[in-house]
Assembly symmetry: C2
Homo-oligomer: 132 residues x 2
């Protein structure tokens, strides 16, 4: 379940992914998120905190979807479906800082590192538009 070559740049560039989750009430939620895609393992990683609603939701329903549009051409986009394969603490905020570097170009002290977690997402399907 590799991403389409034609849209790989959307995973490489520091764009926001819109993360869809299902809440405890069964209704969907959508939130813009930082992410990191690792082509070697074909996994997407997200930073989150244990204090947000989504953390509880993802325990109950680990399936997610993400969509990423190209800001230079919003008709060009990539959709991922997947599920949370792993969740681990980020007690020193290292993964958060990796994303800070990717998105902001610099790192700061991670104030909420006590509650920071890393989700690893295993892709189960990709969709892209235009198709090539």
């Amino acid at each position: 379940m590799k991403p389409p070559e034609s849209h790989r740049d959307l995973l490489e560039r520091p764009l926001f992914a819109h993360l869809a989750t299902v809440g405890s009430d069964g209704a969907p939620r959508s939130n813009p998120m930082w992410f990191l895609y690792d082509p070697e393992t074909n996994r997407v990683r997200l930073t989150h905190t244990k204090t947000r609603h989504n953390h509880r939701y993802l325990k109950a329903e680990p399936r997610i979807s993400m969509s990423i549009t190209d800001p230079d051409d919003q008709y060009r986009y990539l959709q991922l479906r997947g599920e949370v394969e792993n969740e681990e603490d980020d007690p020193e905020g290292k993964f958060y800082q990796l994303l800070q570097k990717r998105y902001r170009g610099y790192t700061t002290d991670v104030q909420d590192k006590d509650v920071r977690v890393v989700y690893t997402i295993r892709p189960t399907g990709w969709k892209s538009r235009p198709v090539t």
Copy 2:
């Protein structure tokens, strides 16, 4: 359930909304979509077709969520939760053309007008970041 004044521009500008729905398998989906917000009725309208998966999903689960980021500052965003209040055919593609005009500045013949529908979304909650 009116949107926060501070983020009203995100509804007025022709930005893409990322629409989260719940599929028939209970997993979420995320798709970028055109939309139109009407401040008088406080409703969001979307154009869709009866041939897409989301059409079937929304019959079973009318609750949705949408997130919209500001392309000039992606840390600024608006999230809507709501539900499909009404669905109606768009046999002449008029609503589709209204959105074409909004997003592309011109209209074309609507090839798939036979299957075009308009969803009216009633907001049940708004979230914005930064809060003001």
